[in-house]
């Protein structure tokens, strides 16, 4: 008995260690990126990156981390930061696309004295919880991807900004496109998250205002994989288009099951599905002709886009860019610009004090610069002034920008 217990313990321990080793291995170089060779007296300032990394829209979340880390790396190499005596580092928090987990991540960020700002989160539902924690601790939050309208309108958190257009812009723009493209009837599905619901509502309202008919409206869950019964329902309604408010994980499976279930019409969705993963999961043949909208203009068509793509490929060889990499880069740049401005006004050593953190939030409001996604500046609600929306269509197994 004693022998077998020891054996059990030994095996359990070995397995646990193996997991631990793997876990650490995969995090190497990812969790904390600090520029090497900086002088010892420089002030360490931490930027939190909150994104779904192991659950939820993982492909988008991991892209956010890459985009933000690129901006931080470039900043650390710049003479300006070296002169000011600032060393930036980033810390990742995995919110799993889940509001409760996101709240815990926010608390963790807030307990870090050197953390002055957060680049994130992806999901509007997560931000709803997290932004309150940041507000209490005077931490600036700049989101590259939240699109739920009520995060900024009415403005309830002065510390919150976003660099992407909200669903009040995206939903109607998508509906206008659908109406112009000649779709008369649609079936609307959402994933019951603040993002999906808000987007689908905005889309449906505009589509009906344009004279279209919404044949039905159904709610699913963001982690659903079984849409077979719903597909049968939709098939009976015979719509010309299915609109889905949600993220690519479930969206791709809905598109696949729709096509396999004999509903041979395109599915349209928002920026949450704008990722190559969507086409991979749905199967290229099923996704062909599907539509989505995403915020901003295509990165490679922007004046600074080519430079960005070049430095991105240099830092992450072989990694495909996801929907929010460029936006995360710009969101991180907003944070860095605010930090630099406050460091010039108050001195770098004041950055991590409560007054310094408040000053960083105040400085963000007035920021304006040209970057990858266009002109980055904020209106009185903390929304971006850059309200461009692009429609993409799956053509030949890849998202291709459509003419509006």
């Amino acid at each position: 008995m004693a022998r077998s217990t020891r054996l059990v313990l030994a095996v359990a321990l070995a397995l646990a260690l193996a997991l631990l080793a793997i876990g650490c291995g995969s995090n190497d170089g990812g969790t904390t990126t600090t520029a090497a060779g900086t002088s010892t007296e420089s002030v360490e300032v931490v930027i939190g990156i909150g994104a779904p990394l192991t659950d939820g829209a993982v492909a988008l979340g991991q892209g956010m981390v890459r985009g933000a880390n690129l901006a931080v790396k470039e900043a650390n190499e710049s003479q300006e930061l070296i002169d000011l005596g600032i060393t930036l580092s980033t810390v990742e928090g995995d919110d799993k696309g889940d509001p409760t987990t996101g709240g815990n991540v926010a608390e963790q960020f807030a307990s870090n004295q050197n953390l002055v700002a957060v680049m994130g989160h992806l999901n509007s539902g997560v931000t709803r919880v997290a932004v309150k924690v940041y507000a209490q601790n005077d931490i600036l939050q700049v989101s590259p991807a939240n699109t739920a309208v009520d995060l900024t309108i009415p403005r309830s958190n002065a510390n919150y900004f976003r660099v992407c257009a909200n669903d009040g812009v995206q939903g109607p723009a998508a509906a206008d496109y659908a109406s112009k493209a000649g779709f008369k009837t649609a079936y609307v599905v959402d994933d019951s998250t603040p993002y999906g619901e808000g987007l689908a509502d905005a889309w449906a309202a505009q589509f009906e205002a344009n004279g279209g008919t919404v044949l039905g409206r159904e709610k699913t869950a963001d982690k659903d994989t079984d849409f077979k019964a719903l597909v049968t329902t939709i098939k009976a309604q015979n719509p010309e288009l299915v609109y889905y408010g949600g993220i690519y994980n479930a969206g791709a499976l809905l598109s696949k099951q729709l096509k396999e279930g004999g509903v041979a019409v395109p599915m349209m969705a928002g920026d949450g599905v704008f990722d190559p993963e969507y086409i991979k999961l749905a199967g290229a043949a099923n996704a062909e002709g599907d539509l989505c909208t995403s915020v901003g203009l295509p990165t490679d068509q922007m004046p600074k886009g080519q430079d960005f793509i070049a430095s991105y490929d240099a830092m992450y060889p072989g990694e495909a860019m996801a929907a929010y990499d460029a936006y995360s880069y710009d969101a991180a740049k907003v944070i860095i610009t605010a930090i630099v401005q406050v460091a010039k006004d108050m001195g770098a050593d004041k950055l991590t004090t409560p007054e310094g953190k408040k000053a960083i939030i105040a400085a963000t409001q007035g920021i304006s610069f040209e970057s990858v996604t266009g002109t980055v500046s904020f209106d009185e609600n903390g929304d971006t002034n850059n309200k461009a929306i692009t429609v993409y269509k799956v053509v030949g197994g890849a998202w291709t920008p459509e003419k509006m």
């Binding site: 997991l19 019951s192 079984d226 077979k228 049968t232 994980n249 099951q257 096509k259 993963e277 999961l281």
Partner: protein, 326 residues
């Protein structure tokens, strides 16, 4: 009417998957009075191993990469037509079922057997631990992303075709495959338990473990067997789940696990035929609720049914009225 039949067929397909998983819960509970929360991870592992197996068996270049180039003649046959495809599926089921069955036996040996004499809460916690361990193992060693269940070129393993038209309703190949396979496996298991010596030993162990041991039944072997069969059936359901819905993810087992456990309870936990009945019932109710009331409310309705069943028949539909052993 067509719509009703179509939703019912959706439900039977889903029910077949639930029934396969529910059997694993009910078998273990019947013998050990343990709710094996790690069982949903067997379903998940089955899906992953099945995907790997299908990919290797259908793609010559991949097989060569992993050092299985000698499979080439078999692959040509597997990709040649219907019979080849069915054979490939059978091989995949055997590979995945056997491997996951062994994982089930290992969990029993290392996580449950040392705790067999411990208070009942201890193995329950151990089961949750195994579940978290397996999920994280797949998360770290395989991928945190949702993986498409498709061939190397991105097409589905099962070509989407209408197998036949039944009263004006199109039934897909995948649905026929799932319904036929699950019913066959359920009947086979039922016969095995009812007719063979080993089956009788299992029933005896479930009735009274100590007495069965005194009568010469090797109780440990019977329990091992239950921990092989349950996960193996779960693995088959995992593969079907992947092919039918189109993806696998490390935490995909949780919701089907809870639903299948519910199915086992509806049917009367500990009772094999009850688990089968409960599985099909739950699948059909969910599908009809989704089709006729609202997709968002299907789980609510399914769980209302569970509560009603438990109020009217606390032991489940086919549950024996067992006097509580103190």
């Amino acid at each position: 009417m067509n719509y009703f039949i179509e939703q019912t067929i959706n439900g039977i397909t889903l029910g077949g998957l639930y029934a396969l998983v529910a059997l694993g819960y009910t078998m273990v509970y019947g013998i050990l009075m343990l709710i094996n929360f790690a069982h949903s991870e067997m379903f998940m592992l089955g899906g992953y191993i099945g995907l790997l197996s299908l990919k290797v068996l259908s793609d010559p270049s991949l097989a060569e990469d992993v050092g299985l180039g000698f499979l080439e003649p078999a692959q040509a046959f597997f990709n040649s037509g219907t019979i080849g495809f069915i054979l490939m599926l059978v091989v995949t089921f055997l590979v995945s079922g056997a491997l996951v069955g062994v994982v089930g036996m290992i969990t029993e040996r290392f996580a449950y057997r040392p705790l067999r004499k411990a208070p009942r809460l201890a193995p329950l916690i151990s089961a949750i631990g195994i579940s978290i361990f397996l999920q994280n193992a797949v998360l770290l060693w395989v991928s945190s992303k949702q993986l498409p269940y498709s061939r190397a070129d991105g097409t589905s393993f099962v070509p989407v075709k209408t197998a036949f038209t039944f009263m004006g309703v199109e039934v897909s190949t995948m649905q026929v495959l799932i319904i036929v396979t699950s019913i066959t496996l359920l009947l086979a298991l039922d016969t095995f338990i009812a007719r063979t010596r080993v089956g009788r030993a299992m029933r005896a162990t479930a009735q009274d473990r100590d007495a069965a041991g005194l009568m010469g039944v090797d109780v440990n072997r019977v329990i091992m067997l239950a921990f092989f069969i349950g996960p193996a059936l779960g693995a088959v359901a995992g593969i079907f789940n992947g092919m039918y819905y189109g993806s696998v993810k490390y935490n995909m087992g949780f919701i089907p696990g809870v639903k299948s456990f519910t199915a086992a309870v509806i049917g009367g936990i500990g009772n094999l035929r009850g688990a089968m009945l409960g599985g099909f019932l739950l699948g059909i109710i969910e599908s009809l609720a989704s089709g006729f009331i609202s997709h968002a409310y299907r789980d609510v309705i399914a769980f209302i049914v569970l509560i009603v069943v438990l109020v009217v028949r606390p032991g489940g539909l086919l549950g024996e009225s067992v006097t509580e052993k103190v």
